[in-house]
Symmetry: C2
Subunit: 147 residues, 2 copies
């Protein structure tokens, strides 16, 4: 992603265009996998020289709240972040070997909503769906990238 695209995102969110914000957006935009806050921190430090971890958290949080990036909660109690250009409702397939993230078109929640409405008259308001597996490349013997 060009720096100008990052700046446009920030202006749309009425956030000041600062080097740290641009660098973090660029960092996520060039990754094909989700990153922890510390992983973002270490990557961004290489280019900015210095940036505090709290700043990384603050910026990631702003971007996640604005739905510019996707936040994933994993069972190790850490939060991971992923920049996805697809704004329509969709879910992700996460490769357990290389941590690459793929978009999914199928949601499959229509049937569930119907089941709930028919059975008890309830209503679905949101859902969390994450698919884990091994992607095609990793299935074919590629060893993958360490986490």
């Amino acid at each position: 992603m060009e720096l100008e695209q990052g700046a446009a995102i920030l202006r749309r969110l009425k956030l000041k265009v600062t080097p740290r914000r641009l660098e973090i957006i660029c960092c996520l935009a060039t990754e094909y996998s989700f990153l922890s806050a510390e992983e973002v921190w270490s990557r961004v430090r290489l280019r900015l020289g210095s940036i505090g971890l709290p700043t990384v958290y603050r910026i990631l949080d702003e971007l996640a709240e604005a739905a510019v990036i996707t936040r994933i909660f994993l069972s190790n109690r850490k939060q991971y972040y992923f920049l996805c250009s697809n704004q329509d409702h969709h879910h992700h397939f996460v490769c357990e070997s290389c941590h690459r993230v793929e978009d999914l078109e199928q949601c499959g929640l229509d049937a569930v909503s119907r089941e709930i409405a028919q059975r008890s008259g309830g209503r679905v308001t949101s859902h969390i769906l994450q698919i884990n597996g091994v992607c095609g490349a990793c299935c074919q013997g590629h060893s993958g990238v360490a986490a």
Copy 2:
């Protein structure tokens, strides 16, 4: 759940039958909603007199590892536990108002697995699906139970 049922579960897992373990299983068995470790702790203390929070964590962890109870990770970084007698593959509908949990039969993941296999040759190994909403009773004006 009777105490004897709890004892049977523990014997099956080759764990010693202790009052704390029995009490925790009973506590979860009589709840219709998921509970945090601290919520289990406060309920169980009423009947046991004294029990340490680390013990509650240890026992909940054992039971979750053995798949006797279900562990849910929410975005507040806390873990919640729920005892579900249904052992087949299924998911849960969680009411946002009263925190009651219902079993779902629909999974809807077959279509997703097909999509992944067809598109990139990948393979689905696991998935996390949680449906949030408002249950029938709460939809009909019942105010629900606070978290």
